[in-house]
């Protein structure tokens, strides 16, 4: 779809960005020491830190990805919500308090506090960089996806804009400004999503968006074929064997493509939408894509086809339970797509209607990501179980989340801020189901772009709400990216330069080194955001969770809880977990298909999500190596009050 930027959207967006940068500059006055730059002096209030957790964690994948997945496939997106939140239980009960007690700026500090080993710091720093970069890619891709409809600018401009703004925020004031950006973003995101949910429930479900008939035709085949002045094209070439009937108007030469299906034993034809890319030109239903005369654009989708046996054109306002009940009994017009390479080399994507029962959208397995749930193959089910394990174990292993435990003063504040974070994040994830289903039935979806479901849902209510939600989504990216850049910066400047390579940096030098690294990481993130433009946001985040869980969790848990763990065991577990999970991902069917453009069947591993293999492998390696290496005298962790000087 082509989006026309509105002055309101541009105005709200610019105001948000200026507010965020101004706030950063103002807060940045105090971040002159390493403790201030990396850990906000440990002076953040626990409530602010808790909401900042939400701002840090609710990334583009959570807001744009999950809402989009639910809008297009139903319940499957909600599985991410459940898994993402469950991961906080690991953080609260297993990691948070010991980590705070033993660390200083980075999670490598906590890992290493018993051993004072360069190998552990090196392994942890590399792991932090790899996980942060994997997590950065979808954020930057999400930023580019947002900028196009909001401001009408190309993807690359969105990526560069995020990169420049975030790097400015991080370089300006480090963790202090990052925390407040995340606090503002987390608060606004939860608040406006709650408002949006109330509006969805108030609107209820409306058949065909209030029109007498569906905007997309579906008729018995005999009725369509009896229309005067059309000719049925033969099913030759790449269209052979496909379930489509092509009709041509001999007078104009225009071709319509209808999808064939059977309803109650009768042959029907349903209207499709086509997007063809031919020698760089984009055609919609055979004519140039555009809004002008002689042009055509893809039409918005997302309609309720019927409201079950009690019928009626609209439900009117509903409560949360009533909304889900009504949706379960309704039939929804979803859209599938099929890629066809035509004989002349043109690539056509045919988007076709799929009338789906509401109750079928309330169980797992409708999306390609979770299709394995409905498969009889054990490996397909293992793929699903592995992803759910990665989501559960990955949260407490994400470097940008772990460093937030150093921004509050003590363990009690860590505990309280984690509980506040769980409350805010959990509430948001409950809302995602209503936001997603609201978008699914909004009549505003872009059939080509799942990531735009939430902003377009807001647009179905008002342009101002669209502008606000889009700006919040953009600050969502800013908040998460700034946390990731701080984590990567700490890994390089604090762990690698100071502790591994033994550079003698004073406090001022370490802050300056951190800022230089932040600029470099920001530049790499921008480059990757442009290169990975076509990748699915949620899918990429799933990879980051797998790597984080496999590389970091075994080392973190065992360093904190197993006295027999040795430094060799910890370092080996990080490296084996990281390399094995990364290697598995690169050899998986999804990487073959989506990254290399090769047949998925050529993949060298039986399923795509590695955590179910590589997480236990990390624990196993740690135990075996620790038992094979000499027991080390436990050294008392240095009190942070001394160590920090």
């Amino acid at each position: 779809m082509i989006y026309a930027p509105s002055p309101i959207a541009v105005g709200v967006f610019v105001a948000f960005i200026l507010l965020v940068i101004g706030l950063s500059a103002w807060l940045g006055r105090r971040a002159t020491s390493a403790s201030g730059y990396y850990a906000a002096h440990g002076e953040i209030h626990w409530f602010v830190n808790g909401i900042a957790f939400a701002g840090d964690y609710l990334s583009a994948a959570s807001f744009l990805g999950i809402c989009g997945m639910i809008a297009f496939y139903g319940y499957d997106g909600f599985l991410y919500s459940i898994g993402y939140l469950a991961g906080w239980i690991v953080a609260l009960f297993v990691v948070a308090e010991p980590l705070k007690r033993m660390g200083r700026f980075t999670f490598a500090d906590a890992l290493d506090s018993r051993y004072h080993s360069r190998s552990i710091k090196l392994a942890a720093a590399i792991s932090t960089l790899v996980v942060s970069l994997f997590y950065l890619i979808p954020q930057m891709v999400g930023a580019g996806a947002l900028i196009t409809p909001l401001l009408g600018l190309p993807h690359v401009v969105g990526v560069l804009l995020v990169g420049v703004v975030v790097t400015t925020i991080v370089v300006t004031a480090g963790m202090v400004s990052t925390t407040w950006v995340q606090f503002i973003k987390g608060s606004l995101l939860v608040l406006f999503c709650f408002l949006l949910t109330i509006m969805i429930l108030h609107r209820g479900l409306v058949v065909n968006g209030g029109a007498a008939e569906s905007p997309f035709a579906a008729r018995p085949a005999a009725e369509i074929l009896a229309r005067p002045g059309i000719a049925v094209l033969p099913k030759g070439g790449t269209w052979a064997g496909k379930p489509y009937t092509r009709l041509q108007n001999p007078a104009t030469g225009r071709v319509e493509v209808w999808r064939e299906e059977t309803r109650d034993g009768e042959a029907w034809l349903t209207e499709t939408q086509r997007l063809t890319v031919k020698q760089g030109a984009r055609l919609v239903d055979g004519v140039p894509q555009g809004k002008g005369e002689g042009q055509r654009d893809l039409r918005p989708v997302g309609y309720v086809s019927g409201l079950g046996k009690d019928g009626g054109p609209s439900t009117g306002p509903l409560g949360p339970a009533g909304f889900l009940d009504a949706l379960g009994g309704a039939s929804i017009q979803l859209w599938g797509n099929e890629l066809i390479v035509e004989d002349d080399g043109a690539v056509t994507t045919v988007y076709y209607q799929k009338i789906t029962r509401g109750d079928d959208l309330m169980v797992a397995g409708a999306s390609p990501t979770f299709a394995g749930v409905r498969s009889a193959r054990l490996f397909d089910k293992l793929d699903f179980l592995s992803l759910m394990l990665a989501l559960f174990a990955g949260t407490a292993s994400l470097p940008h989340i772990l460093i937030r435990y150093y921004t509050v003063k003590d363990e009690s504040a860590v505990r309280k801020s984690t509980v506040v974070g769980i409350a805010a994040i959990g509430f948001f994830y409950v809302l995602t189901l209503f936001l997603g289903f609201g978008a699914m039935t909004s009549g505003a979806l872009d059939v080509t772009n799942t990531n735009m479901a939430a902003p377009l849902l807001a647009k179905s209510f008002s342009p101002l709400l669209f502008a606000i939600i889009s700006a919040i989504a953009f600050t969502t990216v800013l908040g998460t990216v700034s946390g990731l850049i701080i984590a990567a910066s700490g890994a390089v400047a604090h762990d690698l330069l100071t502790n591994v390579f033994r550079f003698r940096l004073d406090d001022h030098d370490m802050v300056r080194a951190g800022k230089i690294v932040a600029v470099a990481v920001g530049a790499v993130a921008m480059l990757l955001g442009v290169l990975f433009e076509r990748m699915n946001v949620t899918f990429l985040v799933g990879w980051a969770f797998n790597i984080a869980a496999s590389a970091n969790l075994p080392a973190l848990v065992m360093a904190l809880y197993w006295k027999r763990a040795t430094r060799q065991g910890i370092a080996a577990a990080i490296l084996v977990g990281m390399i094995s999970s990364l290697g598995w991902i690169l050899l998986s069917a999804q990487a073959f298909r989506d990254v290399y453009g090769l047949p998925a069947a050529s993949a060298l591993v039986p399923f795509s999500q590695p955590a179910i293999v590589t997480l236990p492998l990390g624990f196993l390696v740690l135990v075996v190596v620790s038992l094979l290496t000499p027991r080390q005298e436990e050294r008392e962790p240095m009190p942070r009050s001394i160590e920090a000087r």
Binding site: A86, I89, V363, D410, E411, R415, V419, A423, E636
Partner: protein, 91 residues
């Protein structure tokens, strides 16, 4: 003087029980989703099905155990592992 292992501080045993309880619920949910679709499609109260109810239930349970832990740890002495000194506030 030897220090307590980092794990054996405030909320020591309690947090593992709460963690284990939640982990069991999450594992049951995941396994049922993977292997028993008809059960998850069942609507016990006639409206939302078990998949939706258990999803909301897991989110609510996360908040419930977190709040319970906060409440029980309001005086960390009460839940510290036996013989282990409680964490010092403000360290």
């Amino acid at each position: 003087m030897p220090v307590a292992h980092p794990s054996r501080r405030a909320g020591g045993a309690l947090r593992f029980w709460l963690f284990g309880l939640y982990l069991a619920c999450y594992a049951a949910f995941t396994i049922l989703t993977a292997f028993d679709r008809p059960l998850m499609a069942w609507a016990p109260f006639g409206g939302a099905n078990l998949a939706v109810l258990s999803g909301f239930g897991l989110i609510a349970a996360a908040l419930a155990v977190a709040l319970l832990y906060w409440w029980l740890c309001r005086d960390s002495r009460a839940v510290a592992a036996p013989g282990v000194p409680p964490a010092k506030a403000g360290r």
